[in-house]
Structures are given as C-alpha cells and as structure tokens.
C-alpha cells in the first residue's frame, strides 16, 4: 500500500478505518500516491470528499506526478501535504526535482526518523492555511511546546553535542534610525547571528518601537558577519523552563507577530546561511533581497520539533503549503535562485559590503 494510484486513493480514504490503517507497510505514517496517469476525474463531490478526508489523516501524504495535472484534479492535488514532480512539470504546488525517486525517498526517510514531528508538522500546516497569521503563530507555538515534551526532541537533545551558552559583551542587535527608516542589524557575527533569547528580546524591542512610532515608515533588517542568521542558538536548546512556560514566552515576546504587523514597511537583506529563524522571520517581510550565495534550510523536524519562529505561518504564505512542508519535513536546503523561483525571496542581488 506504499504507492497507490489516484483512483485507489479516493476509495481508500473513504474507509472509516483510514485514519488508523492508511500508512506505509512498515507502519510509517506516510501515504505516497504515484500518479502515473490522469484517469477521467471522479465526480466533483467524490473528489471534494476525498480531499477533505485526505487532509484529516494523521499521516504525511505525498503525491508524485510526472506530467502537468489536469485542472479538474487541482482540488485533490491541493489536499496533499507534498507534491513532487520533475522540473518540466508546471505546478505551483510541486517541488520540482531532477530525481523524483530520490526526492520521494528523502520525505520517507525523514518521516521514518521523526514520525511524530513530521505528522505534527503537516497537521499544523493544514490548520495554519485556513487561519489568520496571529492565530497560526499560536498554533505553531502550541505544537512546538507539545513536541518539546516528546521523545524525538529528547533523543535529539541527548545525541547532540552543543556549545555551552556563553556570556558575551555588546548588544546582539543594533538598532539605529535614519530619518523615517529604522535599521535593525543582527550582530552576533562570531555565532553567525544565532537567534538567542537576548537577540529575540532586542529584536522585539526594535520592532515595538517601529510599531509605536508612526513616523517610522520603513524597517530595514540585515545581518552582520558571514551569515544572516544560522538559526536558533543551539546552546540554548533544552533550556526552556518547561514546555508550557515556553509557549507563554513565545507568545509574549514574538518577533514574528510584530514582523507580520509591520510587514508592508519591512525589507530584509539576507546572505549566507539562513537557517530556521533565519528564513522564518524574513519570510514575513514585504520584500526580501538575497545575496546569490544565500541558502535556506529548516532543520527543526530533524530535531523532533517544528519551526518555532513563525515559519509555519510565514513560509507557506510565500511559497505555498506543499513546498513549505517539503522544506520542513526533509530539511533540504535550497539556494537563492530556487528561493527566487519559488517566491521565498523577491530579488537576488549581490550584497554590498558596508
């Protein structure tokens, strides 16, 4: 039952036992449908019912397509969590990959490695799609906290060697004002601007200033050093007081919330590694300019978590739920041209050194 046809899937998801029994033969919560051909579409009400049921399953659903999908199939195709296709297929939802089999296996091995995080990830994305951004941020934080208490994150914590948190001089964020423009620079170059609690606090303070002062008409965010932001500060993982306190902290002091509020006036300049928060936060801005060498990656599911800096709200709103789920589940990195093609960034332009 690992690779199904499209007609079969409509029948199988209609089963009252689908939630429990529709999964890969080894028990992995994964359904892969290989669409070798496009048969005459089922009646619209059959397709709608199948799409609805598919979105309710506690499994990661993957459609592999090999040619352009007929329009009639869009509702069903849109219900999948991930769509994989060769590069010549025209589908805004599809991850275009030179090696479709390898791409499909990348999803499968990621789901096998962290099934709880992977399923939670796609369920969160489905829920977030129909939510406002502030609501989606709350849902993300709840999911993140739930997974913080789970065995997959515990296993990652136990296996990873992490640097001890260091006390460091100076401010992790530099906020300056030039007329009506507020410039916010991440400034922990020695840690590739790892997103620490102190950086979060100062970033939020800067964004709140922009939120409080209507004479600030533009916010410009960039990063100092070799990378815009290499993600959450690994030295701080596992240091949250407890999962439920973590949720209250995230929703009390949320850079994502303020970036969304200020999105129309916010421009971000990214370069180097943009990992986790380093891509989640920029994705809220109305304009992102990426250096040609910038790379983008979401490693959280491989750590037994989901992105927690707002990325499950911001990234799908730029590139669509299916491509966002691909990035989150596989942890695959993409380069600046791919990010541009998918709409994750708006322009690719060499960074001017200041």
């Amino acid at each position: 039952m690992s690779e199904l046809g499209l007609a079969e899937v409509c029948d199988l998801v209609a089963s009252p036992w689908a939630h429990e029994e529709l999964r890969a033969p080894d028990g992995t919560p994964l359904v892969t449908v290989d669409v070798a051909s496009w048969p005459t579409p089922p009646a619209p009400e059959v397709m709608t019912a199948a799409a609805e049921r598919l979105r309710s399953l506690p499994v990661v659903t993957v459609a592999v397509i090999h040619d352009d999908p007929p329009l009639a199939y869009e509702p069903l195709l849109r219900a999948f969590d991930i769509v994989v296709a060769p590069p010549d297929v025209e589908s805004p939802a599809a991850v275009d990959h030179l090696d479709v089999a390898a791409a499909t296996e990348a999803v499968a091995s990621a789901v096998r490695a962290n099934p709880q995080a992977a399923v939670s990830m796609v369920q969160l994305s489905r829920l977030s799609e129909a939510s406002t951004v502030p609501d989606a941020l709350v849902a993300e934080s709840l999911t993140y906290s739930m997974l913080q208490a789970g065995p997959e994150f515990a296993a990652w914590l136990g296996a990873s060697a992490r640097a001890a948190a260091d006390t460091e001089p100076g401010d992790p964020v530099v906020v300056t004002r030039d007329g009506s423009v507020l410039r916010v620079t991440l400034d922990r170059p020695h840690r590739r601007n790892a997103y620490s609690a102190a950086m979060r606090d100062q970033l939020v303070a800067g964004l709140r200033l922009a939120g409080a002062d209507p004479s600030i008409e533009g916010v410009l965010i960039d990063g100092n050093g070799p990378a815009f932001c290499a993600g959450g500060d690994l030295a701080e993982f596992g240091t949250s007081p407890d999962p439920s306190s973590g949720h209250l902290i995230r929703t009390t002091r949320s850079a994502a919330y303020w970036l969304d509020r200020l999105r129309r006036n916010t421009r971000v300049r990214v370069h180097g590694a943009c990992v986790g928060a380093g891509v989640e936060l920029p994705a809220f801005a109305a304009a992102i300019v990426a250096d040609p060498g910038a790379t983008f990656r979401l490693p959280e599911v491989s750590m037994g978590l989901v992105p927690g800096a707002g990325g499950t709200a911001s990234i799908p709103r730029r590139i669509g739920r299916q491509r966002a789920d691909w990035l989150a589940i596989t942890g695959a990195g993409i380069d600046a041209p791919t990010a541009k093609r998918w709409g994750l960034v708006d322009r690719v332009e060499p960074r001017q050194r200041r």
Binding site: Q148, V175, T176, R177, S196, A197, A198, D201, A205, G206, R208, L209, A212, D213, S215, I216, G232, D233, E236, F237, G238, T239, S240, P241, S245, G246, H247, I249, R250, T252, R253, G308
Partner: protein, 102 residues
Amino acid sequence: MQLRPGTRLKSTVCATEVIVVKAPADEIEVTCGGAAMVDPPTAPAESGTPSSDAADGSQLGKRYVDADDSIELLCTKAGDGSLAAGGAAMVLKESKPLPASD
C-alpha cells in the same frame, strides 16, 4: 503641559524626541537636558547644550518612567540630554529578560 498617549515631544537642546506612552491626569512639565520639551512642529532649531546635570543621554527605543510610574515616554530619537518629569529625573524602564523558549 497636558499630555496624552501619542503626544510627541522634542528637546530644544539635543536631538532627543519622545512619544508619550502613558500620561498623568494632571499637567506636567517634561524636560530634556534641563530645558522644557516642546511640540515638534513648533520646536525652534536646537540651541545650547544639555545642562551638565542632565546630560546622561536618551537611548533609541527605550522607555523612561518617573518614580511613581505615572508617566512613561518612549524615546524615538536618541540625544545627549536626559529626561525629567516634574523636576525629577526619569529612569530607564527595562523589559524583563525572558528565558529561552527552546
């Protein structure tokens, strides 16, 4: 001067500008660098310098309060003068650092 939340004030002796976050019910004089702050559109060109006992500066994006927390200002442009309300120096109101949530 009667203040309201959102009222803007500008220093006459340095670059400091603030927005009122919380206003007292009664009139109060706000000074920066020892000189009364004014409505920005009517502000004269900066002249003079902050008096030496009020020259610790103001910091961009920081909030300042008086001792009994009746007035709160947000600094929207930094300057060399320090803020006072009703003749008493205002103090920096720092947001409490919160732990990591990871």
